[in-house]
C-alpha cells in the first residue's frame, strides 16, 4: 500500500437550508483498501459520498486525488477520476434494459454515430457473467428484474469502466443472505485488484469482516476513524450511539468531549 492516499477529502461541509448535513468532515482512502462509513440514519453518510461522486456540490472543503487537488463539480467529473458509485436507492433507469443501463451516459457508438446495441449487450453479458452467471434477462427493462438482479446490474455498471474508487451505499440492503454473501466476495475481489472502496453499511458485523478501517459519523460530523483491529464492535457501537471515541481510534470534530 503506497503512502499517498488515492483520495483525501478535507474539511468538507454542506448544508441544506438550515441543516448542516455534513460538517467539517475529513476522510481518506488508499488503493486496495476498504473503508466503512457507519452512523445512524441521517448522520450524513450518503451526503458525504455524494459530494465525492459529484452528485452534490460541497459548500467548502477540498478533495485530493493522489495528492493533487481534484475538481469535482458533477458526476461526469467524478467518473473521469475513476470514481464510480452504487447509490443507496438503486440507481437504474427502470424502462431500459440491462445493457442500456450499464452504458447510460457512456454509450458505445458504431462508426456511423448510431447506438451499437450489439456491442453493448456483448460486453454486458461478459461483465454480468462475472457477477451473476445465471443472469439471462438481457432484453427486459430492468424494472422486471428482482432486487438481487438489479443490484448486480448496478454493481456491474460501476465496475464496467475500470473504477479506481468504488462507493457502495448500502449495497446489500435490498438483498437476501445468499446475494449478500456474493457481494462480500465481490468486494474482496475488487479490493485485491487494487480498487479503493468506501462501503456504507448498517451491519457492523458485516463491516468488521470486509473493512480495513471504519469511520463513524453522527449529526453530520466525524466521530472518529479506526483500524478494525484496534477497536471492538462494542466500542464502535459507542461511537455510533453516543459519539464516544475509544482510545484505539483517531477522534474527529464530532467526538464527544469527555
Amino acid at each position: 500500500m503506497s503512502n499517498t492516499p488515492l483520495v483525501e477529502m478535507e474539511n468538507i461541509s454542506i448544508a441544506f437550508g438550515g441543516i448542516r448535513a455534513v460538517d467539517d468532515a475529513s476522510a481518506d482512502l488508499h488503493a486496495g483498501e476498504v473503508v466503512a462509513l457507519l452512523g445512524h440514519n441521517g448522520a450524513g453518510k450518503s451526503t458525504l459520498i455524494k459530494i465525492l461522486s459529484g452528485a452534490y456540490r460541497r459548500d467548502s472543503g477540498t478533495i485530493r486525488m493522489n495528492g493533487e487537488e481534484a475538481v469535482i463539480n458533477n458526476p461526469r467529473d467524478a467518473k473521469a477520476y475513476g470514481i464510480e458509485t452504487i447509490y443507496q436507492t438503486l440507481a437504474l433507469a427502470d424502462n431500459v434494459d440491462t445493457a442500456a443501463n450499464l452504458y447510460l451516459g457512456r454509450e458505445i457508438m458504431t462508426p456511423w454515430g448510431t447506438l451499437d446495441d450489439v456491442a453493448m449487450e456483448a460486453r454486458a453479458r461478459e461483465v454480468m457473467g462475472r457477477l451473476n452467471p445465471r443472469f439471462e434477462r438481457f432484453k427486459d427493462p430492468v424494472k422486471a428484474l428482482s432486487g438481487g438482479q438489479r443490484q448486480s446490474v448496478a454493481i456491474a455498471r460501476a465496475i464496467l469502466f475500470n473504477a479506481r474508487i468504488l462507493i457502495m451505499d448500502e449495497p446489500t440492503a435490498a438483498l437476501g443472505p445468499q446475494e449478500t454473501a456474493q457481494v462480500g466476495e465481490l468486494i474482496e475481489q475488487l479490493k485485491s485488484e487494487g480498487i479503493g472502496i468506501f462501503l456504507i453499511s448498517h451491519d457492523i458485523h458485516d463491516v468488521f469482516h470486509l473493512a480495513d478501517r471504519v469511520m463513524v459519523m453522527k449529526n453530520g460530523r466525524v466521530v472518529g476513524t479506526a483500524r478494525v483491529t484496534d477497536v471492538t464492535e462494542d466500542e464502535i457501537l459507542g461511537m455510533i450511539i453516543l459519539g464516544k471515541c475509544p482510545p484505539g481510534a483517531v477522534p474527529g470534530p464530532g467526538a464527544m468531549n469527555v
Binding site: 461522486s53 452528485a55 458533477n74 458526476p75 461526469r76 467518473k79 458509485t85 447509490y87 440507481a91 437504474l92 433507469a93 427502470d94 424502462n95 431500459v96 442500456a100 447510460l104 451516459g105 457512456r106 454509450e107 457508438m109 454515430g113 448510431t114 447506438l115 439471462e136 434477462r137 432484453k139 427486459d140 422486471a144
Partner: protein, 332 residues
C-alpha cells in the same frame, strides 16, 4: 429445471412487453372492420387516402409530442404555436422580400422551421432553467402564441395575397408522388426520422432515460436540462413541418387555426402506447394513434351515428379511455 425457467421468461416477456405496443394496431384494425360495416365506401382507396392525408398535421406534431412526453414533459402550446408559425409564415410570404415564387416559398419554409424551433426553445428553456412545471409553462405560451396570432391578424385572418404564390405553393399539399400524396410521404419521413433519433442515437437513449428516472440520468452524467430542452425544440420543428403542409391547403391562418390540436396530438401519443409518465416512447404507435383519431372522425361523418359536431367530445373521451386502458395493462 432450467427448462422451466426458459419457458417462464418467454411467457412473461410476451405478456408484459407486447400488449401495450400491439394494442393500438389492434384498435386500428377493429376500426377498419367497423368502418367497413357502417359504410361500404369506407374501405375505398379514395376515402382511405383522404383519411391518411388529413391525419398528417396531427401525426407530424404528435411525433414531436412523443419526444417531449417520453422525456417526462408536456407541451400544450402546439395548437397555438401552429397558428402563430402559420401566421408569421404567411405574413412573410406577403412581404415580397424575396423575388421569384420558388425562392420566396423556400425562404418562407426555412423561416417557419426557425420560428417553430425558437418557439420550442422558449418552452424548453423556461421549463428547465425556470424550473416550472411544463404544464404551466406551455399553458402560458399557448395563450401567448394564440393572442399573438390574433393580434397579427388584427382579429381576422391572414391569407396569402398573391394568387400566383398560392398556386405555386398548392402542390405541396395537393400533389402526389406515384399516387402517394405528399402529406403522407411527409408523415412517413418524419416518423422514420423520429424513430431513428429516438431508438438509434445517443440523444434518443438519453430522452428515454431522463423520462424514466431523471436523477439516475443526472448521476450518469447526462445533461438533463439540455435533453429536455431539445425535445421541445424537436416539438417546435415538428409543428413547423406540419405548418409547411397546412398553409398551402387553405392559404390562410385564422384565430381558430390549430384549435384543440394539442388535445389531438397528446391523444395520439397516449393511444400509441407512449407512457404519459415518460420513459417509453413509441413513434409508430403515435402514428397509429393519429390515424385512429382521424378514422373515428371519418366514421362519424360517414355513418351519422353521432353528430360530427361532437368530434371533440369523442376525442376527449378517447384520451380518457386510452389512459384507463393503459393503467389496467400496466397493473398486470
Amino acid at each position: 429445471m432450467s427448462n422451466t425457467t426458459v419457458v417462464q421468461t418467454r411467457r412473461r416477456s410476451i405478456s408484459d412487453i407486447d400488449l401495450r405496443a400491439v394494442a393500438p394496431f389492434v384498435a386500428l384494425a377493429v376500426l377498419f372492420g367497423f368502418g367497413a360495416m357502417v359504410n361500404p365506401n369506407f374501405l375505398g382507396l379514395d376515402n382511405l387516402t383522404n383519411v391518411v392525408t388529413r391525419s398528417a398535421f396531427i401525426a407530424i406534431i404528435a411525433v414531436g409530442a412523443t419526444f417531449v412526453i417520453s422525456a417526462g414533459g408536456l407541451d400544450l402550446s402546439v395548437g397555438s404555436m401552429s397558428a402563430f408559425v402559420a401566421g408569421t409564415m404567411i405574413l412573410f410570404l406577403n412581404s415580397g422580400a424575396v423575388s421569384g415564387d420558388t425562392g420566396m416559398i423556400a425562404t418562407a419554409m426555412l423561416l417557419a422551421l426557425a420560428t417553430g424551433a425558437l418557439c420550442g426553445l422558449a418552452n424548453g428553456l423556461i421549463t428547465t432553467l425556470g424550473r416550472i412545471e411544463p404544464f404551466i409553462v406551455t399553458l402560458g405560451t399557448m395563450g401567448i402564441f394564440r393572442a399573438l396570432t390574433i393580434y397579427l391578424a388584427e382579429g381576422g385572418s391572414i391569407a396569402i395575397k398573391s394568387q400566383e404564390l398560392r398556386a405555386a405553393y398548392r402542390p405541396i399539399y395537393f400533389s402526389d408522388v406515384l399516387g402517394v400524396p405528399i402529406p403522407v410521404i411527409m408523415i412517413l419521413v418524419v416518423a422514420a426520422l423520429g424513430a431513428f433519433i429516438l431508438y438509434r442515437t445517443r440523444f434518443g437513449r438519453h430522452v428515454t432515460a431522463v423520462g424514466s428516472n431523471e436523477e439516475v440520468a443526472r448521476y450518469s452524467g447526462i445533461s438533463v436540462n439540455r435533453v429536455r430542452t431539445l425535445t421541445y425544440v424537436i416539438q417546435g420543428v415538428c409543428v413547423a413541418i406540419a405548418v409547411l403542409i397546412y398553409v398551402p391547403r387553405l392559404g390562410a391562418a385564422t384565430a381558430t387555426t390549430g384549435l384543440l390540436w394539442e388535445l389531438q396530438a397528446i391523444t395520439a401519443v397516449v393511444i400509441g402506447g407512449t407512457a404519459l409518465r415518460g420513459g417509453v416512447g413509441r413513434i409508430w404507435g403515435t402514428i397509429c394513434g393519429a390515424l385512429i383519431l382521424e378514422l373515428v372522425g371519418n366514421i362519424m361523418v360517414l355513418s351519422d351515428l353521432v353528430s360530427e359536431y361532437l368530434i371533440g367530445a369523442v376525442q376527449g373521451s378517447i384520451i380518457i379511455i386510452a389512459m384507463l386502458i393503459q393503467r389496467s395493462l400496466g397493473r398486470r
